[in-house]
Amino acid sequence: MKECTANADCNTAIGEACSEGVCYGGPPAGSFAAVITPPSGRSDLITVEVPNLTLPADGDLSTLVLATPSRIGGRVEAHCAQPQTCEGTSIAATIVIARAPLFPGGTGFSTVVTSKDGLPRGSNSFSVTVPRSTAGDPPYVMSIVPDGNGALPPANGATSAAEQAPPMSLQLSADTDIDTGTLVLGSAQSQVVTGSLTDGASHFLQKYRVVARGRLVAGGPVTEVSTIDYTANGQYSITLADGVVGPISIYATPYDSNVVAPSLMVGGLEPRTSLRVVAQPANTGNKLVVAIPIEGLSTGGAVVPVAGAHVILTAEYVPLVNGTASATLSVETTTGDDGQAHLTVLDGTVFTGLYKLRVFPPTGSLLGAIYDQPLALASIGPVRLPPRVALRGRVIDGAGVPVGKLSVTALASVHFAWSELADAAAFLAEIPAPTTLTSDDGSYVIYVDPNVAGVWGHYDLAFDAPSGVSIASWVMRDVEIPRQAKLSTVTLADAVLPESAYFHATLADPGHLRVGGGELRIFSIARDSSLCGQVPYPPANCVIPAQLLGHAASDDTGALKLALPR
């Protein structure tokens, strides 16, 4: 921080002003938003989104007031289908309440609460706080998913809430405290889908988790939309959520750990479907244990086994005839010190030629990932992980002095992610972002995958100063990997520390009492959305994510100081 005794010591031409011995202000150009969060111990306060934040020229953000929340309470019950006798107690469920962001590219608001099980009528089973809605705010979407929907049935043989009641979704506005009353999952009119699971010889399949997937609301995400049936005898019955939006798919996943069997899926069904047989294709074959050697080149040039690599082998059979089940077998493991991935697969002809391999190298490896590489079971050879590319650079300040101990992280840029098909983009996101520290001479080297799924990489390099050092964090955006097959190193131009603009504020509650342990985050809103037209797979309603410019927590007096890059 630049020290001062008077304004004349600061760069007043850009608005800086001296306060408490520090030059504050001189804000960067752009459009900004902020999110202010209370400490976890203040349940009487709630997160505030400031969609349009003006950064003051003198750096004084003044007092930022946290808000009191609206409280949403209610109870969740399962519909009591006749002729059952029900106790009318609440059921356990996970309730997610989310709202779209108030500024473009923001993360919005979301929270999760659990509905308690077994509470008698007359008492609420859940209570949660959310930011109070004001005119023009998007509505909250409340999703209620009964508990006990895991991969395995309840261990004690009891019937879980997810087996009794389907999920629900509803919209609401919270301009005041709300009591939802009793939310009943399912109804007398809920569509029931029954059927059987059979193998290729029409024998009933045992120990499968059966569920329907679709959308709870039009335009919503695809999610589970029915009760769960953990069928032990091959007969299933699931109840669809009311108002489900089709088409739906029925998924059957084996849960017997002693069995190697594919998951089955029948798709394209209408929500009014009442009867459906899910038939496993014939010729899935028998169990086959395979060992896949994973290797790579060491820094010395020798070929060495790769320990700690996460290996996933998947085969997906998609039938030619609509309405019959597709079958997916997916197995995974981690290589041992010998670099071997030991997996148990099926050797049937239905999967011949369909096995594909994915490999995630160990964290911090100089070796890259493999995406959907075909693997023939009959001729398994060593799998060579490709080398990563070294991004080399140096960080200096405005006077050319090297800057050490800055953290440097390479994140796949939005350009990279939106250049991939959805499945490859998800694979790309699973690769942990490499990170390192600059040396005392300011140099750094960080290893990245040059391309994934045939798409050449673009990375954002994020530079962060250690705590207690008054340097703003900044990002070198969209560093493109040159499209050269044998490339091993990319030398980047020196990264010059941007000038830092300092700001100060005080956090307070609505009673004007100062709040310690809260946090202010300032985001830069992208106004140029041309990237949406430059990439092959932008999201629907393409919005460039807002970028976090800086953040700081308030001290015990409620005061906070933060630095933003100019």
Partner: protein, 222 residues
């Protein structure tokens, strides 16, 4: 200022002379020490002993049968440390874009490959002011079925103060298979760089290093 030694630590036995605050690398799995900060495999929600401590607490020694044990309180000073005593790191706060995250949650994150901007910010404390701290986030990790870290946080380098910060990218935290299922999320901070091989798998650090964990119930949405 260091407290004067009241006995010769060289006469203390290796076992039982002092209650350990947290795990020490590969030696952590030998025996079960009463005050281990590393969650036990069968008790994933055990809380770290020195949760939110701003200074190390003075521990009483547990005298073994053959002990020539001494009560040697760790130094409360951050400027001079006994070269033989490594203070463990601690996590003083965990924040997402939306809120501070108190244990055990539940905490909610999206499975979204486009969410490259989302992150967790950790505030860490280690009175070994020259230690660089390394944090990683694991999901549903068990010793029997170890899984690699879903997120590697920025190294928190030593700057001469006990407090450090670290940022954890969250793009790969929630996978599609995690949506709608409860997972166990561990934020583990090590005061040594994590080794690529060793035990426990994906969490091995050099001998003498220590770690601390915060554990949350993780819920992922689509």
């Amino acid at each position: 200022m260091r407290h004067p030694m009241r006995c010769d630590p060289r006469r203390a036995t290796a076992r039982g002379s002092m209650t350990r605050m947290s795990e020490r690398g590969a030696a952590a799995r030998r025996g079960r020490l009463a005050n281990s900060a590393m969650p036990l495999a069968d008790s994933p929600l055990a809380r770290p002993l020195h949760h939110r401590a701003r200074v190390p607490l003075v521990f009483l020694s547990i005298l073994g049968t053959h002990a020539m044990g001494c009560i040697i309180p760790p130094s409360l000073s951050v400027d001079v440390q006994d070269a033989g005593v490594d203070s463990p790191p601690s996590i003083t706060s965990v924040r997402s874009d939306l809120q501070e995250l108190p244990e055990p949650g539940p905490v909610l994150f999206q499975a979204n490959p486009n969410s490259s901007g989302q992150s967790l910010n950790l505030t860490l404390l280690d009175t070994d002011i020259n230690d660089t701290l390394y944090a990683q986030i694991y999901v549903d990790y068990t010793v029997q079925q170890p899984t690699p870290a879903r997120s590697v946080c920025t190294p928190a380098s030593a700057t001469g103060t006990a407090t450090r910060t670290s940022t954890c990218p969250l793009a790969g935290l929630c996978l599609a298979a995690d949506v709608g299922v409860d997972r166990l999320m561990e934020i583990v901070v090590f005061d040594r760089e994590v080794l690529t091989v060793g035990s426990p798998t994906f969490k091995a650090i050099p001998a003498g290093g220590q770690s601390t964990t915060r554990t949350y119930i993780l819920k992922c949405t689509s």
